[in-house]
């Protein structure tokens, strides 16, 4: 410990702080962050607990914080609605939407990120500008367009309008901008076409970025409520969230434990997917925002 350790000056200075101060500061930090984290995840825990309470305890004035392990709530709720059909619909819709959104994002991101063409900036701005157009404000004409196409109560009405992801195009473009140009030069010398380069080299390299886009689109598609609520009229094409809302407005309204069970098992898939890939998902948001 001598004068040779010049770079560590800040820590040397902090050594002069009273230890009580540092201790109090970090305790306060942990309290604030801990309480926020508990508040953030509490409703999730609350669903879980409620879904396993006996119906008597669920109506109790004193809140119960520990489950009674009443698993029959799940089987009862499952038998009250065609959940299998809803799950199948949601899985099909989400899969198709993800596949199409990946395709359109990859192609458009590749064009914006690696090619030079007249109107490139204007077209890119036209895409980014869509963030400023609230989808709620275009709900009525969108509904009109879909019904004119004869798509009411179909899968495609829930897939095609979401087959382009603005943040997806942005993320893929960002990725391709970071590719060294020498890669394309080398490929071109070997007689590679633009599409060949995308298919064999750039596309596979973009896999991490594509995974983020897939996640975002999947979660958005699974959680979609308002639009499917408008464009579906039968259980045959209803996705899970609309099914849950129908259950809530119907039998679930008088059956809180059954409703909690339904809320739990409809949320589980998106929770599992998110927890598996949460790091990529959160990093994707960070990249998308700071580079913008």
């Amino acid at each position: 410990m001598s004068t040779t350790r010049v770079p560590s000056r800040p820590s040397e200075r902090s050594r002069h702080w009273p230890w009580q101060y540092k201790w109090t500061r970090s305790v306060l930090l942990y309290i604030v962050v801990g309480i926020t984290a508990i508040v953030a995840v509490f409703p999730l825990y609350w669903v879980f607990v409620s879904s396993l309470l006996t119906s008597h305890n669920a109506m109790d004035v004193v809140p119960h914080f520990w489950p009674d392990w009443e698993w029959s709530n799940y089987t009862r709720a499952w038998n009250l609605e065609p959940w299998g059909q809803f799950f199948a619909n949601s899985i099909f819709i989400a899969t198709c939407t993800v596949a199409l959104a990946l395709l359109t994002s990859l192609l458009a991101g590749y064009a914006f990120g690696t090619m030079k063409f007249p109107g490139r900036n204007i077209l890119f701005l036209a895409i980014l500008g869509l963030i400023m157009i609230p989808s709620e404000a275009t709900l009525i004409p969108s509904y009109l367009i879909v019904s004119t196409l004869g798509w009411i109560d179909t899968y495609q009405a829930q897939i095609i309008p979401f087959a382009v992801s603005i943040s997806g195009i942005f993320l893929i473009r960002q990725f391709f901008l970071s590719l060294p140009p020498s890669l394309w030069e080398a490929a071109q010398l070997d007689g590679c076409t633009r599409f060949g380069f995308l298919w064999r080299i750039a596309g596979p390299l973009a896999r991490p970025a594509l995974a983020v886009v897939a996640l975002q689109v999947f979660i958005g598609s699974w959680n979609a409520f308002l639009w499917p609520y408008l464009v579906t009229t039968s259980d045959r094409f209803r996705p899970i969230e609309v099914g849950l809302q129908a259950f809530l407005a119907g039998e679930g309204g008088t059956d809180p434990t059954g409703l909690a069970a339904a809320a739990a098992f409809t949320t589980l898939p998106v929770l599992v997917v998110f927890l598996i890939a949460q790091r990529q998902f959160i990093e994707g948001i960070s990249v998308g925002s700071t580079k913008g």
Partner: protein, 317 residues
């Protein structure tokens, strides 16, 4: 992007200029082919509706009537300006934006600063705080509905525990909007926390260290170093939060249905246009008129905020 110019040099040496031009033209034209799928879909489901909404607002539109719709010019707009429901929902929307956006921003920035202040297991805390953002709205509003319940609800349970007066969270018109702000802040603050954390992570720690060596305290470091560098990202977060706040209506709809609660106290512009456009006695033309107002509001405010951020950046950096 010096890609093109670099590549053109060997090509220019070997091939005929015409071939080169042709190839270059094809190479450029190809880009539009790659953009085509995205723009076809956006054209039909994003650009066309945004233009068509203006057109529809000039008609007494009816979804059930096929063929031509009666054109009524600006009648919908004059009706709108004399409609107390419109002014009320505009007021609710503005109130919601003005309260929720600053709360959201302040909370998110505060949490991001806490998380970046050398706390352990940072990724774990971030995950917990972010997680409400990915939860489906139908399920989460259901839970919150219970937590807001007057008799069995958790919030009133806590208030009773503290011997305070209980609140009718979703029934009292004075509290409905506040309850929705509680819910939406819980739901979306984590998203902004993540963005703020990314912004803070991009600030070199050596700046703060240098200031500390010069005797600056934590507040001074935040005020004179961190904050100025964080302004651009704050403006991005503010823009996104403001847009989200203006178009908020799904939570309102899920909590209260299309009426927007007691005394329409939580009926935002979005909810009003939705109930006008899709109720049993629907007026899609009138709903489109409300949409146009919402559209113009969001668009002008976004452009304004973007212009502000451009100016700030050119002044300070």
């Amino acid at each position: 992007m010096e890609l093109e110019s670099d590549l053109s040099m060997p090509a220019r040496k070997v091939v005929h200029p015409w071939t080169w031009h042709l190839r270059r033209w094809f190479s450029n034209g190809q880009a539009y082919l790659y953009l085509l799928p995205a723009f076809v879909i956006l054209g039909i489901f994003a650009y066309a509706p945004s233009i068509f909404v203006f057109y529809m607002s000039l008609f007494r539109w009816n979804f059930l009537r096929h063929g031509s719709q009666p054109f009524i010019g600006l009648d919908n707009y004059t009706a709108l300006f004399h409609d107390p429901n419109f002014w009320q929902s505009l007021w609710v929307t503005i109130l919601y934006v003005v309260i929720s956006v600053p709360v959201h921003l302040f909370l998110a920035l505060f949490l991001a600063l806490c998380l970046m202040a050398g706390i352990r297991a940072r990724a774990f805390w971030r995950l917990a705080i972010f997680s409400p953002f990915i939860m489906p709205m139908v399920a989460t509003t259901t839970v919150w509905y219970w937590m807001f319940d007057t008799y069995h609800g958790l919030f009133n349970g806590i208030l009773r525990l503290l011997h305070l007066k209980t609140v009718d969270w979703l029934g009292d018109p004075h509290w409905t909007l506040f309850s929705i702000i509680l819910y939406t802040t819980w739901k979306s603050a984590g998203f902004s926390v993540v963005i703020f954390m990314a912004g803070l992570g991009n600030i070199s720690p050596s700046l703060a260290e240098a200031a500390r060596v010069d005797g600056a305290n934590s507040w001074q470091i935040f005020r004179y170093i961190t904050w100025p560098l964080l302004v651009p990202i704050t403006l991005v977060v503010m823009l996104l939060a403001t847009i989200e706040a203006f178009k908020m209506f799904q939570p309102s709809f899920l909590f209260f249905g299309s009426t927007g609660g007691a005394g329409y106290s939580a009926r935002t512009l979005g909810l009003y246009l939705f109930s006008e456009g899709f109720s049993n006695d629907a007026h899609p033309g009138y709903g489109s008129t409300i949409s146009v107002i919402l559209f113009l509001l969001v668009f002008t405010i976004s452009i304004g905020q973007l212009a502000l951020s451009q100016r700030r950046m050119s002044v300070e950096y």
